[in-house]
């Protein structure tokens, strides 16, 4: 729900299958339970078929005319229909099965930095005309602006799915979860509980814009998160692993779901005997994949256009300047195949793209939506995203990663007499004004005399963005982009994202353990 407490507005990323809301539809034939007659059936057929029928070119034109009746730089209509399935397996049982079917549409008007927004939980023409009037009220004392007539735009897909995972039958989904549960339980007698959360969704969107675009897209997403808990005496530790992305059904057999579940169980067991993490500043090496949470927090959020156009981000006005180690290249790629943060088109009708943010340590670009691009006299980079039709788009990351370096990962440990190796990471957050950021490590190891040694428990790691990026000493050649688990929160809006990196070495990061 959009009513979350305004107390904290820190931008963050977390791991876990927290999709926000969600929904809708494959062809009825592909989803057995969708067979049947009636309007529900119609709503679930074809790509946004009903959205297209109700919100045809002519209706959309009329709504946009109303939206700009008091003036404005830009208006759009965003309609969305999702079908979401979630399954919880806990204590060896299928606890609950949920279907969600939210749909609705919103109308936005903006002029310079001013935005008006209203949505409706139904997609009736009259409701959306009302929404357009409400949204237009943000603009005062201006003459009407005539929007361009919308025409359908085809955008080449970021990648294609042959048999999208959300369309597999329920028996297959249950079978996957049961197999993972059994594998995690049998990994060790000390595993006392296993919880597995499955979520998938099919999201149809329709966007009409006052500069003449009419775009329809369908996005598939699936996520499985496995959390086994181990107990010994009074000690309890949880492990974590995940599967998913915007993937085909054959992804699961290829990824060995049992192996993934056993990996989470092994983490929990390792943590039972792990010592306390160290406290204080020291050399830190961060493992590949989800370790990219560091670049997401330390740099990614600050590159987003809203903070840039307001001048509150420390990266404002820094394009073309050196901001980090010359080793560093950072990419945001909306077209990364199967990425959790990937899309063909963003939520304001701009094609998703691959953007180089940092190259050779020099800032190359920001991540922009239409409004922030307009304010900066730049072009949108296709990063305008929204959680659902109940929110307006804001600049967001997609799949953000530190690009491959040249070092052999093992060599990055050389010369460290006492340091910290971050093996498994949790979530993180950042204050984009100061650049102070943090991310949680779930499982670490000590580095002693160039070797990874004893496992240690998790701790928070902290730093200041530019300062920390200046401390990069080496980047491995083992790039992994993690596509299964990231959910990024900002201004109360949660969106799925990917993060990634190869193994990266920092001369110093503050580790928040208890051992001094």
């Amino acid at each position: 729900m959009s009513l979350e407490s305004p107390i904290s507005r820190r931008d963050f990323i977390r791991n876990g299958a927290l999709l926000s809301t969600a929904i809708l539809a494959g062809s009825a034939g592909a989803i057995p339970w969708l067979k049947g007659a009636g309007v529900a059936e119609a709503a679930l057929m074809g790509i946004g078929q009903e959205l297209r029928d109700v919100l045809n070119l002519e209706t959309v034109n009329r709504i946009l005319i109303e939206a700009l009746a008091r003036g404005g730089d830009f208006a759009d209509l965003f309609a969305e229909q999702r079908f979401r399935t979630s399954i919880v397996l806990d204590d060896g049982k299928i606890d609950s099965v949920t279907y969600g079917y939210p749909r609705g549409a919103g109308v936005r008007v903006f002029r310079r930095h001013q935005t008006g927004y209203a949505f409706s939980d139904d997609i009736a023409y009259s409701s959306l005309l009302d929404a357009a009037r409400v949204a237009s009220s943000v603009v005062q004392n201006q003459s009407p602006v005539r929007p361009l007539d919308v025409t359908p735009r085809r955008i080449p897909p970021a990648f294609t799915l042959v048999a999208p995972a959300p369309l597999m039958g329920e028996p297959m989904k249950f079978d996957l979860l049961r197999r993972m549960d059994a594998a995690a339980r049998s990994a060790d007698p000390r595993i006392v509980s296993v919880r597995i959360d499955y979520v998938d969704e099919v999201r149809d969107i329709l966007i009409g814009t006052s500069d003449g675009a009419y775009v329809i897209d369908r996005q598939y997403l699936v996520s499985i998160v496995c959390v086994p808990t181990a107990a010994q005496g009074s000690e309890r530790r949880s492990g974590f692993s995940s599967l998913g992305g915007r993937v085909d059904q054959d992804y699961f057999p290829r990824r060995d779901p049992e192996g993934v579940a056993r990996e989470a169980a092994r983490q929990a067991i390792t943590l039972l005997t792990a010592g306390p993490a160290p406290a204080g500043a020291m050399p830190v090496v961060i493992g590949p994949g989800w370790g990219g949470v560091l670049i997401h927090e330390s740099f990614g959020h600050a590159s987003e256009g809203d903070g840039i156009s307001r001048g509150t981000s420390f990266l404002s006005g820094r394009i073309g300047t050196k901001i980090a180690s010359p080793l560093l290249r950072v990419i945001d790629d909306a077209r990364w195949a199967n990425g959790r943060g990937s899309y063909t088109v963003d939520d304001e009708g701009t094609p998703g793209q691959r953007t180089t943010l940092i190259d050779g340590g020099v800032l190359q670009s920001y991540l922009l939506d239409r409004q922030s691009a307009g304010l900066l006299s730049m072009r949108s980079t296709g990063n305008g995203r929204r959680m659902t039709y109940r929110q307006w788009p804001i600049p967001r990351m997609t799949n953000t990663y530190i690009d491959r370096g040249v070092s052999d990962p093992a060599s990055l440990l050389n010369g460290i007499t006492k340091g910290f190796y971050a093996a498994e990471m949790g979530g993180g957050s950042v204050d984009t004004t100061s650049g102070n950021f943090n991310f949680a490590v779930r499982l670490g190891h000590l580095i002693e005399n160039g070797q990874i040694t004893k496992p240690v428990r998790g701790a928070i790691l902290i730093g200041n963005s530019l300062e920390t990026m200046g401390k990069i000493e080496g980047i491995g050649n083992d790039l992994v982009v993690e596509q299964t688990r990231g959910t990024c929160g900002k201004d109360g809006q949660m969106v799925p994202v990917g993060v990634g990196q190869p193994t990266v070495r920092f001369s110093s990061i503050t580790v928040g353990g208890t051992a001094i």
């Binding site: 749909r103 927004y117 109940r390 102070n436 943090n438 001094i516």
Partner: protein
């Protein structure tokens, strides 16, 4: 955005529930929400955002042979809902039967007036929010020359209705209001920028802090952070100022969640009746607190809400439950089923807080020769299963009983069990601005990770 009358909603819900029961559901529950909301955001005196909308959504839970299915939708057309009802019943069949799957079957007498609805908020118009937001920003900027701008200054309100019924409990409804004011000011000093946020959220409009005060406090918080530096790693007494202590108690909530306890995912599992915190500490979940942000006459599955003392003078008294977790523990539910129309009930807080103590916050600082005063925390640093804590913090260094300089870039860590037992002072400054709250608290000793 058509507004339906209560009668229409009641008829729709009764029809849907009856259809479910006739179609094979042994038990069925409808949960319907209608929320109207508006928010205005101002920046540099101009309206940056204005939004106004209405949310309507229906959740349907069905049980068949102790197996549960759930569906939610915002599409309320009759033929759509009817189709979805049948599918949800078929869906339930795929779940595993659980003995504890049973809807509440006890109606209870009406609660006293919780004062969670304010006619003044219900009568508000979105344009009235703009001067409130402007006032916050003006007062933030007026506070000091170093405050040139704000990052996020907004005012909003929401008016909600929850309509509920199940196979055993007749249709019931409650209405509530919320209004909020929040300001994030930015202080600039040379190349250094720091933000400070102050917010308030209340059921009754007149209970809100004034926009003047909120703007001023936001500015003061931003200014206080200028020039902050890390300190060396050490072990010292640490005071959490009330708002940071409230965030701490929020992070601790999961340890009292009855589901986590029975699934061995809480470090407090098996500790009932034991001294788990300092005798100074009493922790309460109060679903019927007058004007409470988390107060409501019944919870997300129709159980009566109540006040539950979770930790009494340091002794772990009870855990918090929904109907199903209570059955698994063989105890009574506590009215803690939290949900929206689009989610199943899970154990959640109502108004969850550390009760007020007797110490003066100033005296708590004066008693510390050398230590840390924490004003803000950040990061996913609670491991509830393991009972471990590690977060990024900021605040002030204490020397000789005085706050001597601003601090940031450090961590605070400890074992949650040791931390709770080591609380050696609890302030008398409890105030509610969110659903989690605490007075100022002082930990005898925690580990600081710094330079």
């Amino acid at each position: 955005m058509a507004v339906q009358t209560s009668t229409t909603i009641q008829e729709t819900l009764e029809r849907v529930r009856t259809l479910a029961e006739r179609s094979g559901a042994a038990e069925a529950e409808t949960y319907f929400e209608f929320i109207t909301l508006a928010e205005a955001r101002v920046r540099e005196r101009e309206v940056e955002l204005i939004q106004q909308s209405a949310i309507t959504g229906l959740g349907l839970r069905v049980l068949r042979d102790r197996k549960m299915g759930f569906l939610y939708t915002t599409d309320l057309r009759r033929n759509v809902i009817d189709e979805l009802v049948l599918r949800t019943i078929a869906l339930a069949d795929q779940a595993t039967p659980r003995d504890e799957n049973k809807l509440p079957d006890q109606a209870f007498p009406p609660q006293g007036n919780l004062e969670i609805f304010d006619d003044a908020i219900a009568a508000m118009r979105p344009e009235q929010l703009i001067p409130l937001a402007r006032s916050m920003e003006d007062n933030a900027v007026a506070r000091d020359q170093k405050i040139q701008t704000t990052l996020d200054t907004r005012a909003g309100y929401a008016i909600g209705e929850v309509h509920f019924s199940n196979t055993f409990i007749p249709y019931q409804v409650f209405r509530s209001t919320t209004s909020w004011l929040t300001c994030t000011a930015v202080a600039t000093d040379g190349g250094q920028k720091r933000e400070g946020t102050y917010s308030d959220r209340k059921r009754i409009f007149l209970d809100l802090n004034t926009p003047e005060r909120i703007g001023r406090k936001a500015a003061e918080r931003a200014l206080a952070r200028l020039g902050a530096k890390p300190v060396p790693s050490t072990k010292v007494p640490v005071i959490f100022e009330a708002e940071a202590a409230g965030a701490f108690v929020g992070g601790l909530f999961g340890a009292f969640n009855g589901l986590n306890v029975i699934e061995q995912r809480s470090f407090l599992a098996g500790r009932k009746g034991q001294q788990i915190a300092s005798p100074l500490v009493t922790i309460v979940d109060d679903g019927i607190q007058r004007r409470g942000l988390g107060s409501r006459p019944f919870d997300g599955e129709g159980s009566q809400t109540r006040k539950t003392v979770v930790v009494e003078n340091g002794v772990l008294a009870r855990f918090l439950h929904t109907v199903s977790t209570a059955r698994r523990h063989n105890v009574q539910p506590t009215g803690n089923a939290a949900r929206g129309y689009d989610s199943l009930p899970t154990v959640g807080p109502t108004n969850f807080y550390i009760d007020s103590g007797s110490s003066k916050p100033d005296a708590m600082i004066q008693e510390v020769p050398r230590g840390l005063y924490v004003t803000g925390t950040a990061g996913f640093g609670f491991d509830i299963a393991a009972g471990e804590y590690s977060q990024q913090v900021e605040g002030h260094w204490i020397e000789g009983g005085k706050l001597v300089r601003p601090v940031e870039g450090i961590t605070v860590a400890g074992k949650l069990g040791d931390m709770l037992l080591g609380i050696d002072a609890v302030g008398r400054d409890l105030e509610f601005r969110t659903t989690f709250a605490a007075p100022t608290i002082r930990f005898k000793e925690l580990t600081i990770g710094g330079v």
